[in-house]
Protein backbone atom coordinates (compact mmCIF):
# COMPACT_ATOMS: atom_id res chain seq x y z
CA UNK A 1 0.00 0.00 0.00
CA UNK A 2 1.54 3.27 -1.10
CA UNK A 3 -1.21 5.75 -0.58
CA UNK A 4 -2.72 6.08 2.89
CA UNK A 5 -6.43 6.75 2.60
CA UNK A 6 -7.47 10.17 3.93
CA UNK A 7 -9.82 8.69 6.49
CA UNK A 8 -6.91 6.75 7.91
CA UNK A 9 -4.65 9.79 8.19
CA UNK A 10 -7.36 11.67 9.99
CA UNK A 11 -7.76 8.76 12.32
CA UNK A 12 -4.01 8.60 12.83
CA UNK A 13 -4.02 12.32 13.53
CA UNK A 14 -6.80 11.88 16.03
CA UNK A 15 -4.95 9.09 17.79
CA UNK A 16 -1.75 11.12 17.83
CA UNK A 17 -3.55 14.13 19.28
CA UNK A 18 -5.34 12.07 21.89
CA UNK A 19 -2.29 10.28 23.28
CA UNK A 20 -0.45 12.55 25.69
CA UNK A 21 2.06 9.70 25.93
CA UNK A 22 3.04 10.29 22.30
CA UNK A 23 3.68 13.92 23.09
CA UNK A 24 6.27 12.80 25.64
CA UNK A 25 7.87 10.51 23.08
CA UNK A 26 8.04 13.39 20.61
CA UNK A 27 9.66 15.60 23.26
CA UNK A 28 12.13 12.82 24.01
CA UNK A 29 13.17 12.58 20.36
CA UNK A 30 13.65 16.36 20.16
CA UNK A 31 15.60 16.40 23.42
CA UNK A 32 17.86 13.54 22.30
CA UNK A 33 18.44 15.18 18.90
CA UNK A 34 19.33 18.57 20.40
CA UNK A 35 21.50 16.94 23.04
CA UNK A 36 23.36 14.84 20.47
CA UNK A 37 23.92 17.91 18.31
CA UNK A 38 25.42 19.87 21.22
CA UNK A 39 27.33 16.98 22.75
CA UNK A 40 29.08 15.04 19.95
CA UNK A 41 29.97 12.02 22.10
CA UNK A 42 26.40 11.67 23.43
CA UNK A 43 25.92 8.24 21.86
CA UNK A 44 29.22 6.80 23.09
CA UNK A 45 28.40 3.81 25.31
CA UNK A 46 30.33 5.22 28.27
CA UNK A 47 28.48 8.56 28.15
CA UNK A 48 25.11 6.86 27.72
CA UNK A 49 25.83 4.60 30.66
CA UNK A 50 26.91 7.56 32.83
CA UNK A 51 23.71 9.36 31.91
CA UNK A 52 21.56 6.34 32.75
CA UNK A 53 23.30 6.01 36.11
CA UNK A 54 22.37 9.57 37.01
CA UNK A 55 18.78 9.18 35.73
CA UNK A 56 18.01 5.91 37.52
CA UNK A 57 17.15 7.19 41.04
CA UNK A 58 14.52 9.66 39.83
CA UNK A 59 13.18 7.01 37.41
CA UNK A 60 12.54 4.58 40.24
CA UNK A 61 10.91 7.32 42.32
CA UNK A 62 8.72 8.50 39.44
CA UNK A 63 7.62 4.90 38.78
CA UNK A 64 6.27 4.66 42.34
CA UNK A 65 4.67 8.10 42.13
CA UNK A 66 2.94 7.04 38.90
CA UNK A 67 1.22 4.14 40.62
CA UNK A 68 -0.08 6.36 43.43
CA UNK A 69 -1.31 8.95 40.93
CA UNK A 70 -3.03 6.34 38.73
CA UNK A 71 -4.76 5.13 41.90
CA UNK A 72 -6.16 8.63 42.39
CA UNK A 73 -3.75 9.90 45.07
CA UNK A 74 -0.47 11.74 45.24
CA UNK A 75 2.55 11.16 47.48
CA UNK A 76 4.39 14.26 48.68
CA UNK A 77 6.42 12.25 51.16
CA UNK A 78 8.51 10.25 48.67
CA UNK A 79 11.50 12.60 49.01
CA UNK A 80 11.46 12.25 52.78
CA UNK A 81 11.23 8.45 52.49
CA UNK A 82 14.28 8.51 50.18
CA UNK A 83 16.20 10.51 52.79
CA UNK A 84 15.10 8.16 55.57
CA UNK A 85 16.01 4.95 53.77
CA UNK A 86 19.29 6.46 52.56
CA UNK A 87 20.54 7.01 56.11
CA UNK A 88 18.99 3.80 57.46
CA UNK A 89 20.92 1.73 54.90
CA UNK A 90 24.23 3.52 55.47
CA UNK A 91 23.83 3.43 59.25
CA UNK A 92 22.90 -0.25 59.27
CA UNK A 93 25.93 -1.18 57.17
CA UNK A 94 28.37 0.48 59.54
CA UNK A 95 32.07 0.38 58.76
CA UNK A 96 33.48 -2.39 56.57
CA UNK A 97 30.41 -4.64 56.55
CA UNK A 98 30.35 -8.22 55.36
CA UNK A 99 28.27 -9.21 52.35
CA UNK A 100 25.44 -10.51 54.52
CA UNK A 101 25.46 -7.29 56.54
CA UNK A 102 25.11 -5.28 53.32
CA UNK A 103 22.15 -7.37 52.23
CA UNK A 104 20.60 -7.09 55.68
CA UNK A 105 21.03 -3.29 55.63
CA UNK A 106 19.38 -3.05 52.22
CA UNK A 107 16.55 -5.31 53.38
CA UNK A 108 16.09 -3.12 56.45
CA UNK A 109 16.01 -0.05 54.21
CA UNK A 110 13.39 -1.55 51.90
CA UNK A 111 11.30 -2.59 54.90
CA UNK A 112 11.36 0.91 56.35
CA UNK A 113 10.32 2.33 52.99
CA UNK A 114 7.35 -0.02 52.79
CA UNK A 115 6.48 0.75 56.42
CA UNK A 116 6.45 4.47 55.65
CA UNK A 117 4.12 3.69 52.75
CA UNK A 118 1.87 1.71 55.10
CA UNK A 119 1.58 4.77 57.38
CA UNK A 120 0.57 6.95 54.42
CA UNK A 121 -1.74 4.29 53.04
CA UNK A 122 -3.61 3.70 56.30
CA UNK A 123 -4.12 7.45 56.78
CA UNK A 124 -5.40 7.95 53.23
CA UNK A 125 -7.23 4.70 52.54
CA UNK A 126 -8.71 3.76 55.90
CA UNK A 127 -8.81 7.01 57.89
CA UNK A 128 -9.80 8.90 54.71
CA UNK A 129 -7.44 11.85 55.10
CA UNK A 130 -6.79 13.99 52.04
CA UNK A 131 -3.69 12.65 50.22
CA UNK A 132 -1.91 15.98 49.64
CA UNK A 133 -1.95 17.20 53.24
CA UNK A 134 -1.51 13.72 54.71
CA UNK A 135 1.66 12.96 52.81
CA UNK A 136 2.88 16.51 53.43
CA UNK A 137 2.40 15.98 57.17
CA UNK A 138 3.93 12.50 57.17
CA UNK A 139 6.93 13.81 55.23
CA UNK A 140 7.89 15.73 58.40
CA UNK A 141 7.72 12.52 60.42
CA UNK A 142 9.96 10.72 57.91
CA UNK A 143 12.48 13.53 57.42
CA UNK A 144 12.64 14.06 61.19
CA UNK A 145 13.33 10.35 61.68
CA UNK A 146 16.03 10.56 59.01
CA UNK A 147 17.73 13.34 60.98
CA UNK A 148 17.38 11.25 64.12
CA UNK A 149 19.17 8.33 62.44
CA UNK A 150 21.94 10.52 61.06
CA UNK A 151 22.07 14.25 61.68
CA UNK A 152 24.60 15.14 58.98
CA UNK A 153 25.95 13.56 55.78
CA UNK A 154 28.52 10.85 56.42
CA UNK A 155 29.27 7.16 56.59
CA UNK A 156 30.86 5.19 53.81
CA UNK A 157 29.83 2.45 51.50
CA UNK A 158 31.89 -0.59 50.52
CA UNK A 159 33.51 -0.05 47.11
CA UNK A 160 31.98 -3.28 45.83
CA UNK A 161 28.53 -1.66 45.98
CA UNK A 162 29.74 1.34 44.01
CA UNK A 163 31.32 -1.01 41.45
CA UNK A 164 28.10 -3.00 41.19
CA UNK A 165 26.18 0.16 40.29
CA UNK A 166 28.59 0.94 37.47
CA UNK A 167 29.07 -2.63 36.31
CA UNK A 168 28.00 -4.29 33.08
CA UNK A 169 25.95 -7.45 32.90
CA UNK A 170 25.93 -9.46 29.65
CA UNK A 171 27.43 -6.46 27.86
CA UNK A 172 24.84 -3.97 29.05
CA UNK A 173 24.99 -1.63 32.07
CA UNK A 174 23.33 -2.94 35.22
CA UNK A 175 21.22 0.22 35.45
CA UNK A 176 19.74 -0.55 32.04
CA UNK A 177 18.74 -4.01 33.28
CA UNK A 178 17.10 -2.40 36.29
CA UNK A 179 15.11 -0.05 34.06
CA UNK A 180 14.08 -2.98 31.85
CA UNK A 181 13.04 -4.95 34.92
CA UNK A 182 10.87 -2.05 36.14
CA UNK A 183 9.15 -1.88 32.75
CA UNK A 184 8.60 -5.64 32.54
CA UNK A 185 7.27 -5.83 36.09
CA UNK A 186 4.97 -2.86 35.47
CA UNK A 187 3.57 -4.42 32.32
CA UNK A 188 2.99 -7.66 34.16
CA UNK A 189 1.31 -5.84 37.06
CA UNK A 190 -0.88 -3.93 34.66
CA UNK A 191 -2.14 -7.10 32.99
CA UNK A 192 -3.18 -8.71 36.28
CA UNK A 193 -6.46 -8.26 38.08
CA UNK A 194 -4.68 -5.89 40.45
CA UNK A 195 -3.79 -3.66 37.50
CA UNK A 196 -7.41 -3.42 36.43
CA UNK A 197 -8.44 -2.64 40.02
CA UNK A 198 -5.81 0.09 40.18
CA UNK A 199 -7.18 1.92 37.14
CA UNK A 200 -10.76 1.42 38.32
CA UNK A 201 -10.03 2.88 41.76
CA UNK A 202 -8.30 5.90 40.27
CA UNK A 203 -10.91 6.48 37.61
CA UNK A 204 -14.17 6.04 39.49
CA UNK A 205 -13.68 4.91 43.06
CA UNK A 206 -17.43 4.87 43.70
CA UNK A 207 -18.29 2.56 40.81
CA UNK A 208 -15.26 0.45 41.63
CA UNK A 209 -16.50 0.07 45.18
CA UNK A 210 -20.01 -0.82 44.07
CA UNK A 211 -18.71 -3.48 41.68
CA UNK A 212 -16.76 -5.12 44.47
CA UNK A 213 -13.24 -3.77 44.06
CA UNK A 214 -11.45 -3.61 47.44
CA UNK A 215 -10.89 0.14 47.05
CA UNK A 216 -9.21 0.82 50.39
CA UNK A 217 -6.86 -2.14 50.03
CA UNK A 218 -5.83 -1.04 46.53
CA UNK A 219 -5.21 2.51 47.77
CA UNK A 220 -3.11 1.21 50.65
CA UNK A 221 -1.10 -0.92 48.24
CA UNK A 222 -0.30 2.06 45.98
CA UNK A 223 1.32 3.92 48.88
CA UNK A 224 3.21 0.77 49.88
CA UNK A 225 4.52 0.39 46.33
CA UNK A 226 5.47 4.06 46.30
CA UNK A 227 7.31 3.59 49.61
CA UNK A 228 9.10 0.55 48.19
CA UNK A 229 10.15 2.42 45.05
CA UNK A 230 11.35 5.35 47.18
CA UNK A 231 13.43 2.87 49.18
CA UNK A 232 14.92 1.42 45.97
CA UNK A 233 15.68 5.00 44.90
CA UNK A 234 17.55 5.47 48.15
CA UNK A 235 19.54 2.27 47.62
CA UNK A 236 20.50 3.46 44.12
CA UNK A 237 21.53 6.82 45.59
CA UNK A 238 23.63 5.17 48.31
CA UNK A 239 25.39 3.11 45.64
CA UNK A 240 26.02 6.10 43.37
CA UNK A 241 26.87 8.78 45.94
CA UNK A 242 28.92 6.46 48.10
CA UNK A 243 27.68 8.02 51.34
CA UNK A 244 24.59 8.77 53.42
CA UNK A 245 22.78 12.11 53.45
CA UNK A 246 19.66 12.85 55.56
CA UNK A 247 18.52 15.63 53.20
CA UNK A 248 19.20 13.98 49.84
CA UNK A 249 15.58 13.24 48.90
CA UNK A 250 13.99 16.63 49.62
CA UNK A 251 14.23 18.13 46.11
CA UNK A 252 13.13 14.90 44.42
CA UNK A 253 9.46 14.93 45.48
CA UNK A 254 8.22 17.63 43.15
CA UNK A 255 10.56 16.48 40.34
CA UNK A 256 8.93 13.05 40.48
CA UNK A 257 5.47 14.60 40.05
CA UNK A 258 6.65 16.76 37.14
CA UNK A 259 8.15 13.67 35.47
CA UNK A 260 4.90 11.73 35.86
CA UNK A 261 2.86 14.55 34.32
CA UNK A 262 5.38 15.04 31.51
CA UNK A 263 4.97 11.34 30.78
CA UNK A 264 1.28 11.81 30.08
CA UNK A 265 -0.27 10.50 33.30
CA UNK A 266 -3.04 12.80 34.44
CA UNK A 267 -3.16 13.87 38.07
CA UNK A 268 -6.87 13.06 38.15
CA UNK A 269 -6.02 9.35 38.23
CA UNK A 270 -7.25 6.29 36.43
CA UNK A 271 -5.04 6.77 33.41
CA UNK A 272 -1.39 6.73 32.37
CA UNK A 273 1.55 4.44 32.91
CA UNK A 274 5.07 3.98 34.21
CA UNK A 275 6.78 3.97 30.79
CA UNK A 276 5.68 7.56 30.16
CA UNK A 277 7.06 8.66 33.52
CA UNK A 278 10.45 7.10 32.75
CA UNK A 279 10.47 9.07 29.51
CA UNK A 280 9.51 12.13 31.56
CA UNK A 281 12.56 11.68 33.78
CA UNK A 282 14.86 11.35 30.77
CA UNK A 283 13.38 14.51 29.24
CA UNK A 284 13.86 16.46 32.47
CA UNK A 285 17.47 15.34 32.78
CA UNK A 286 18.27 15.92 29.11
CA UNK A 287 16.93 19.49 29.33
CA UNK A 288 19.47 20.15 32.08
CA UNK A 289 22.20 18.53 29.95
CA UNK A 290 21.27 20.65 26.96
CA UNK A 291 21.31 23.87 28.96
CA UNK A 292 24.76 23.17 30.32
CA UNK A 293 26.12 22.24 26.87
CA UNK A 294 24.44 25.20 25.15
CA UNK A 295 26.47 27.69 27.19
CA UNK A 296 23.41 29.44 28.57
CA UNK A 297 24.63 32.24 30.89
CA UNK A 298 24.67 31.01 34.49
CA UNK A 299 21.98 33.33 35.83
CA UNK A 300 19.63 32.43 32.98
CA UNK A 301 19.91 28.65 33.33
CA UNK A 302 17.17 28.20 35.94
CA UNK A 303 14.73 30.37 33.99
CA UNK A 304 15.44 28.67 30.65
CA UNK A 305 15.09 25.25 32.27
CA UNK A 306 11.85 26.20 34.01
CA UNK A 307 10.37 27.73 30.86
CA UNK A 308 11.15 24.62 28.80
CA UNK A 309 9.65 22.41 31.51
CA UNK A 310 6.55 24.63 31.74
CA UNK A 311 6.20 24.54 27.96
CA UNK A 312 6.52 20.76 27.99
CA UNK A 313 3.92 20.52 30.77
CA UNK A 314 1.50 22.83 28.98
CA UNK A 315 2.12 21.22 25.57
CA UNK A 316 -0.76 18.73 25.71
CA UNK A 317 -3.03 21.56 26.93
CA UNK A 318 -2.03 23.75 23.98
CA UNK A 319 -2.64 20.87 21.56
CA UNK A 320 -6.06 20.32 23.11
CA UNK A 321 -6.90 24.03 22.87
CA UNK A 322 -5.95 24.08 19.18
CA UNK A 323 -8.08 20.98 18.65
CA UNK A 324 -11.09 22.60 20.34
CA UNK A 325 -10.67 25.75 18.27
CA UNK A 326 -10.46 23.71 15.05
CA UNK A 327 -13.49 21.55 15.65
Amino acid sequence: MIRIPIANTIQLQRIALRQSYLFALLLLIIAVAVNAALQPDFFRPGVLSDNLQSFLPLMLLAAGQTIVIIGGGVDLSVGAIVSLVDVVVVRAMGNSPSASQVLLAIALGLASGVLAGVVNGICVAYLRFQPIVTTFASSFVFSGTALLVMSSPGGNVPPSLVDAYQANLLGLPVVLWVIAAVLVLWNFLRSTRYGRYLYAVGGQSMSAYVTGVPVSLVRLSTYMLSGLMAALTAVALVMSTNTGDPLIGAPMTLESIVAVVLGGTRLRGGQGGVAGSLIGVIILSLILNIISFANVPTWWQTLVNALIVLLALTGPGIVALVRRKLS
Binding site: F129, F140, S143, L254, I257, W300, T314, G317
Partner: protein, 315 residues
Protein backbone atom coordinates in the same frame (compact mmCIF):
# COMPACT_ATOMS: atom_id res chain seq x y z
CA UNK B 1 -24.56 7.69 64.91
CA UNK B 2 -24.84 11.35 65.78
CA UNK B 3 -21.72 13.23 66.53
CA UNK B 4 -21.17 16.52 68.21
CA UNK B 5 -20.42 18.87 65.34
CA UNK B 6 -18.25 21.82 66.13
CA UNK B 7 -17.37 24.37 63.51
CA UNK B 8 -13.78 23.86 62.33
CA UNK B 9 -13.00 27.48 63.17
CA UNK B 10 -13.98 26.87 66.78
CA UNK B 11 -11.96 23.64 66.93
CA UNK B 12 -8.89 25.40 65.55
CA UNK B 13 -9.28 28.32 67.96
CA UNK B 14 -9.73 25.98 70.93
CA UNK B 15 -6.64 24.10 69.77
CA UNK B 16 -4.66 27.32 69.58
CA UNK B 17 -5.70 28.27 73.11
CA UNK B 18 -4.98 24.75 74.31
CA UNK B 19 -1.51 24.79 72.76
CA UNK B 20 -0.80 28.16 74.34
CA UNK B 21 -1.85 26.97 77.79
CA UNK B 22 0.08 23.73 77.30
CA UNK B 23 3.14 25.79 76.38
CA UNK B 24 2.73 27.83 79.56
CA UNK B 25 2.45 24.68 81.67
CA UNK B 26 5.33 22.78 80.09
CA UNK B 27 7.65 25.71 79.80
CA UNK B 28 7.09 28.55 82.26
CA UNK B 29 7.58 31.82 80.46
CA UNK B 30 6.00 30.59 77.23
CA UNK B 31 2.63 32.09 78.01
CA UNK B 32 3.54 35.71 78.47
CA UNK B 33 2.20 38.74 76.70
CA UNK B 34 5.17 39.69 74.53
CA UNK B 35 5.76 36.12 73.37
CA UNK B 36 2.08 35.84 72.53
CA UNK B 37 2.36 39.00 70.44
CA UNK B 38 5.42 37.59 68.71
CA UNK B 39 3.61 34.35 67.86
CA UNK B 40 0.66 36.36 66.51
CA UNK B 41 3.10 38.32 64.38
CA UNK B 42 4.66 35.18 62.90
CA UNK B 43 1.18 33.75 62.31
CA UNK B 44 0.24 36.94 60.48
CA UNK B 45 2.83 36.31 57.75
CA UNK B 46 1.53 32.81 57.15
CA UNK B 47 -2.03 34.12 57.41
CA UNK B 48 -1.55 36.77 54.71
CA UNK B 49 -0.05 34.24 52.30
CA UNK B 50 -2.71 31.65 53.09
CA UNK B 51 -5.49 34.15 52.25
CA UNK B 52 -4.92 33.65 48.54
CA UNK B 53 -4.54 29.92 49.05
CA UNK B 54 -7.96 29.90 50.78
CA UNK B 55 -9.63 31.50 47.75
CA UNK B 56 -7.94 29.12 45.32
CA UNK B 57 -8.91 26.06 47.34
CA UNK B 58 -12.53 27.19 47.82
CA UNK B 59 -12.74 27.48 44.01
CA UNK B 60 -12.42 23.68 43.83
CA UNK B 61 -11.39 21.64 40.82
CA UNK B 62 -8.27 20.46 42.71
CA UNK B 63 -7.35 24.12 43.07
CA UNK B 64 -4.02 24.76 44.79
CA UNK B 65 -1.32 27.39 44.34
CA UNK B 66 2.20 26.06 44.79
CA UNK B 67 3.78 29.18 43.31
CA UNK B 68 3.12 31.35 46.40
CA UNK B 69 6.55 30.68 47.92
CA UNK B 70 8.50 32.00 44.98
CA UNK B 71 6.06 34.90 44.46
CA UNK B 72 6.65 35.92 48.10
CA UNK B 73 10.38 36.02 47.44
CA UNK B 74 9.98 37.90 44.16
CA UNK B 75 7.62 40.43 45.81
CA UNK B 76 10.05 41.04 48.66
CA UNK B 77 13.00 41.42 46.26
CA UNK B 78 11.10 43.87 44.04
CA UNK B 79 10.20 46.08 47.01
CA UNK B 80 13.73 45.79 48.40
CA UNK B 81 15.34 46.86 45.13
CA UNK B 82 12.84 49.47 43.94
CA UNK B 83 12.28 51.24 47.24
CA UNK B 84 15.96 50.90 48.12
CA UNK B 85 15.54 52.41 51.57
CA UNK B 86 13.55 55.43 50.49
CA UNK B 87 10.22 56.06 52.24
CA UNK B 88 8.69 57.83 49.25
CA UNK B 89 9.35 54.87 46.98
CA UNK B 90 7.68 52.29 49.23
CA UNK B 91 4.18 52.77 47.83
CA UNK B 92 5.21 52.61 44.14
CA UNK B 93 7.42 49.60 44.93
CA UNK B 94 4.53 47.87 46.69
CA UNK B 95 2.24 48.56 43.74
CA UNK B 96 4.78 47.11 41.29
CA UNK B 97 5.20 44.01 43.47
CA UNK B 98 1.42 43.54 43.77
CA UNK B 99 0.97 43.99 40.01
CA UNK B 100 3.71 41.47 39.21
CA UNK B 101 2.23 39.02 41.72
CA UNK B 102 -1.24 39.44 40.25
CA UNK B 103 0.17 39.03 36.73
CA UNK B 104 1.89 35.77 37.62
CA UNK B 105 -1.31 34.55 39.26
CA UNK B 106 -3.34 35.53 36.19
CA UNK B 107 -1.00 33.49 33.96
CA UNK B 108 -1.56 30.54 36.33
CA UNK B 109 -5.30 31.07 36.01
CA UNK B 110 -5.15 31.26 32.22
CA UNK B 111 -3.12 28.05 32.02
CA UNK B 112 -5.57 26.30 34.31
CA UNK B 113 -8.77 27.47 32.61
CA UNK B 114 -7.76 27.93 28.99
CA UNK B 115 -5.23 25.11 28.62
CA UNK B 116 -6.95 22.96 31.28
CA UNK B 117 -3.69 22.15 33.01
CA UNK B 118 -4.15 20.75 36.54
CA UNK B 119 -3.55 23.55 39.09
CA UNK B 120 -0.86 21.57 40.93
CA UNK B 121 1.17 21.15 37.75
CA UNK B 122 0.63 24.67 36.42
CA UNK B 123 1.56 26.43 39.66
CA UNK B 124 4.46 24.08 40.27
CA UNK B 125 5.86 24.86 36.82
CA UNK B 126 5.26 28.55 37.44
CA UNK B 127 7.13 28.35 40.75
CA UNK B 128 10.21 27.22 38.83
CA UNK B 129 9.81 30.01 36.28
CA UNK B 130 9.50 32.65 39.01
CA UNK B 131 12.56 31.21 40.76
CA UNK B 132 14.42 31.54 37.45
CA UNK B 133 13.12 35.11 37.01
CA UNK B 134 14.46 35.99 40.46
CA UNK B 135 17.94 34.81 39.49
CA UNK B 136 17.83 36.74 36.21
CA UNK B 137 16.57 39.94 37.87
CA UNK B 138 19.06 39.85 40.72
CA UNK B 139 22.00 38.12 38.99
CA UNK B 140 22.65 36.74 42.46
CA UNK B 141 23.32 40.20 43.87
CA UNK B 142 20.69 41.28 46.33
CA UNK B 143 21.26 45.01 46.48
CA UNK B 144 18.77 47.38 48.01
CA UNK B 145 17.52 48.31 51.42
CA UNK B 146 14.40 48.23 53.52
CA UNK B 147 12.74 51.62 53.94
CA UNK B 148 12.48 52.76 57.59
CA UNK B 149 8.76 53.41 57.21
CA UNK B 150 8.15 49.70 56.49
CA UNK B 151 9.83 48.71 59.73
CA UNK B 152 7.79 51.34 61.59
CA UNK B 153 4.51 50.21 60.07
CA UNK B 154 5.05 46.47 60.17
CA UNK B 155 7.40 45.50 62.97
CA UNK B 156 7.57 48.29 65.53
CA UNK B 157 4.94 48.26 68.27
CA UNK B 158 2.15 50.76 67.71
CA UNK B 159 0.30 50.48 71.02
CA UNK B 160 0.32 47.81 73.76
CA UNK B 161 3.28 46.23 71.92
CA UNK B 162 0.97 45.39 69.00
CA UNK B 163 2.88 45.63 65.71
CA UNK B 164 1.29 47.02 62.56
CA UNK B 165 1.32 43.68 60.77
CA UNK B 166 -1.38 42.42 63.15
CA UNK B 167 -3.62 45.31 62.18
CA UNK B 168 -2.90 44.55 58.51
CA UNK B 169 -3.91 40.95 59.18
CA UNK B 170 -7.12 41.91 60.98
CA UNK B 171 -7.99 44.29 58.18
CA UNK B 172 -7.29 41.55 55.64
CA UNK B 173 -9.53 39.21 57.65
CA UNK B 174 -12.37 41.72 57.41
CA UNK B 175 -11.78 42.32 53.68
CA UNK B 176 -11.71 38.57 53.02
CA UNK B 177 -14.96 38.10 54.96
CA UNK B 178 -16.65 40.81 52.91
CA UNK B 179 -15.19 39.37 49.70
CA UNK B 180 -16.36 35.82 50.41
CA UNK B 181 -19.69 36.46 52.12
CA UNK B 182 -20.95 39.79 50.84
CA UNK B 183 -19.93 40.08 47.20
CA UNK B 184 -21.11 38.50 43.97
CA UNK B 185 -17.56 37.25 43.42
CA UNK B 186 -17.64 35.33 46.70
CA UNK B 187 -20.99 33.71 45.93
CA UNK B 188 -19.79 32.73 42.47
CA UNK B 189 -16.53 31.30 43.84
CA UNK B 190 -18.40 29.06 46.29
CA UNK B 191 -20.78 28.05 43.51
CA UNK B 192 -17.85 27.07 41.26
CA UNK B 193 -16.26 25.15 44.11
CA UNK B 194 -19.41 23.13 44.74
CA UNK B 195 -20.13 22.28 41.14
CA UNK B 196 -18.55 23.81 38.10
CA UNK B 197 -21.20 22.70 35.65
CA UNK B 198 -24.17 23.98 37.61
CA UNK B 199 -22.32 27.25 38.24
CA UNK B 200 -21.73 27.63 34.52
CA UNK B 201 -25.35 26.81 33.72
CA UNK B 202 -26.49 29.41 36.24
CA UNK B 203 -24.59 32.04 34.31
CA UNK B 204 -21.31 32.26 36.24
CA UNK B 205 -18.39 33.05 33.97
CA UNK B 206 -16.25 30.29 35.45
CA UNK B 207 -12.94 31.01 33.63
CA UNK B 208 -13.07 34.74 34.47
CA UNK B 209 -13.74 34.09 38.15
CA UNK B 210 -10.95 31.50 38.35
CA UNK B 211 -8.38 33.70 36.59
CA UNK B 212 -9.30 36.50 39.02
CA UNK B 213 -8.92 34.07 41.94
CA UNK B 214 -5.42 32.97 40.95
CA UNK B 215 -4.50 36.61 40.28
CA UNK B 216 -5.66 37.47 43.81
CA UNK B 217 -3.60 34.60 45.17
CA UNK B 218 -0.49 35.95 43.41
CA UNK B 219 -1.27 39.46 44.64
CA UNK B 220 -1.69 38.30 48.24
CA UNK B 221 1.53 36.29 48.04
CA UNK B 222 3.36 39.44 46.88
CA UNK B 223 1.74 41.31 49.79
CA UNK B 224 3.02 38.53 52.03
CA UNK B 225 6.51 39.17 50.66
CA UNK B 226 6.11 42.87 51.46
CA UNK B 227 5.14 42.35 55.11
CA UNK B 228 7.74 39.63 55.53
CA UNK B 229 10.40 42.06 54.28
CA UNK B 230 9.27 44.60 56.90
CA UNK B 231 10.05 41.94 59.51
CA UNK B 232 13.27 40.36 58.21
CA UNK B 233 14.51 43.65 56.68
CA UNK B 234 16.70 41.56 54.39
CA UNK B 235 15.92 39.31 51.46
CA UNK B 236 17.15 35.81 50.68
CA UNK B 237 16.73 33.81 47.50
CA UNK B 238 14.54 31.32 49.37
CA UNK B 239 12.73 33.75 51.67
CA UNK B 240 9.29 32.43 50.77
CA UNK B 241 10.07 28.77 50.13
CA UNK B 242 9.00 27.69 53.60
CA UNK B 243 5.53 29.18 53.21
CA UNK B 244 4.20 27.22 50.23
CA UNK B 245 3.00 23.97 51.76
CA UNK B 246 2.34 25.43 55.25
CA UNK B 247 -0.10 27.83 53.58
CA UNK B 248 -2.01 24.81 52.25
CA UNK B 249 -1.82 23.17 55.68
CA UNK B 250 -3.14 26.32 57.39
CA UNK B 251 -6.13 26.37 55.05
CA UNK B 252 -6.88 22.70 55.70
CA UNK B 253 -6.42 22.94 59.47
CA UNK B 254 -8.83 25.87 59.30
CA UNK B 255 -11.54 23.57 58.00
CA UNK B 256 -11.58 24.56 54.35
CA UNK B 257 -12.04 21.40 52.35
CA UNK B 258 -9.55 20.66 49.56
CA UNK B 259 -12.41 19.47 47.36
CA UNK B 260 -13.64 23.06 47.30
CA UNK B 261 -16.93 24.87 47.80
CA UNK B 262 -16.70 25.11 51.55
CA UNK B 263 -14.56 27.10 53.95
CA UNK B 264 -13.75 30.47 55.41
CA UNK B 265 -10.82 32.77 55.92
CA UNK B 266 -11.42 32.94 59.67
CA UNK B 267 -10.70 29.22 59.71
CA UNK B 268 -7.45 29.81 57.83
CA UNK B 269 -6.48 32.53 60.32
CA UNK B 270 -7.05 30.08 63.17
CA UNK B 271 -5.14 27.42 61.22
CA UNK B 272 -2.16 29.72 60.71
CA UNK B 273 -2.23 30.44 64.44
CA UNK B 274 -2.28 26.73 65.33
CA UNK B 275 0.63 25.88 63.03
CA UNK B 276 2.74 28.83 64.24
CA UNK B 277 1.99 28.08 67.90
CA UNK B 278 2.94 24.47 67.39
CA UNK B 279 6.30 25.24 65.80
CA UNK B 280 7.03 28.01 68.35
CA UNK B 281 6.25 25.65 71.20
CA UNK B 282 8.56 23.00 69.75
CA UNK B 283 11.31 25.60 69.34
CA UNK B 284 10.86 26.87 72.89
CA UNK B 285 11.23 23.38 74.29
CA UNK B 286 14.74 23.31 72.80
CA UNK B 287 14.08 19.96 71.16
CA UNK B 288 16.50 18.88 68.44
CA UNK B 289 15.42 19.55 64.84
CA UNK B 290 14.70 15.86 64.26
CA UNK B 291 12.23 15.50 67.15
CA UNK B 292 10.66 18.84 66.27
CA UNK B 293 9.91 17.68 62.75
CA UNK B 294 8.50 14.35 63.92
CA UNK B 295 6.21 15.97 66.49
CA UNK B 296 5.10 18.64 64.01
CA UNK B 297 4.21 16.02 61.39
CA UNK B 298 2.47 13.74 63.85
CA UNK B 299 0.43 16.61 65.29
CA UNK B 300 -0.55 17.71 61.80
CA UNK B 301 -1.76 14.16 61.11
CA UNK B 302 -3.76 14.23 64.35
CA UNK B 303 -5.31 17.56 63.35
CA UNK B 304 -6.32 16.06 60.02
CA UNK B 305 -8.07 13.24 61.81
CA UNK B 306 -10.22 15.86 63.56
CA UNK B 307 -11.84 17.20 60.41
CA UNK B 308 -9.71 16.80 57.31
CA UNK B 309 -11.47 13.60 56.35
CA UNK B 310 -13.05 12.72 53.06
CA UNK B 311 -16.39 11.17 52.36
CA UNK B 312 -17.01 7.55 53.13
CA UNK B 313 -17.39 5.29 50.13
CA UNK B 314 -20.34 3.57 51.75
CA UNK B 315 -23.03 6.11 52.56
Amino acid sequence: MKRLKLSPVVIALLLAIGLFVLGGLVHPGFANYSLAINILRLAAFLGVVAAGQTLVIIGGGEGIDLSVGSVITLGAILVYQIANGSDQMVLPALLVALAVGAGIGAINGLGITLLRIPPLVMTLGMAGVVQGLILVVTQGKLTGATAPIMVTLITSPLAFEIPGVLLVWLLLGFVMWVLLERTVYGKQLFAIGVNRTTAKLSGVRVPAVLVLTYALSGLLAALGGFVLLGYTQRVFLNLGADYTLPSVAAVVVGGTILAGGQGSYFGTMAGALVLTLLSSLLTTLLLPESVRQIVFGATLLLLLSAYGRQQRLRN
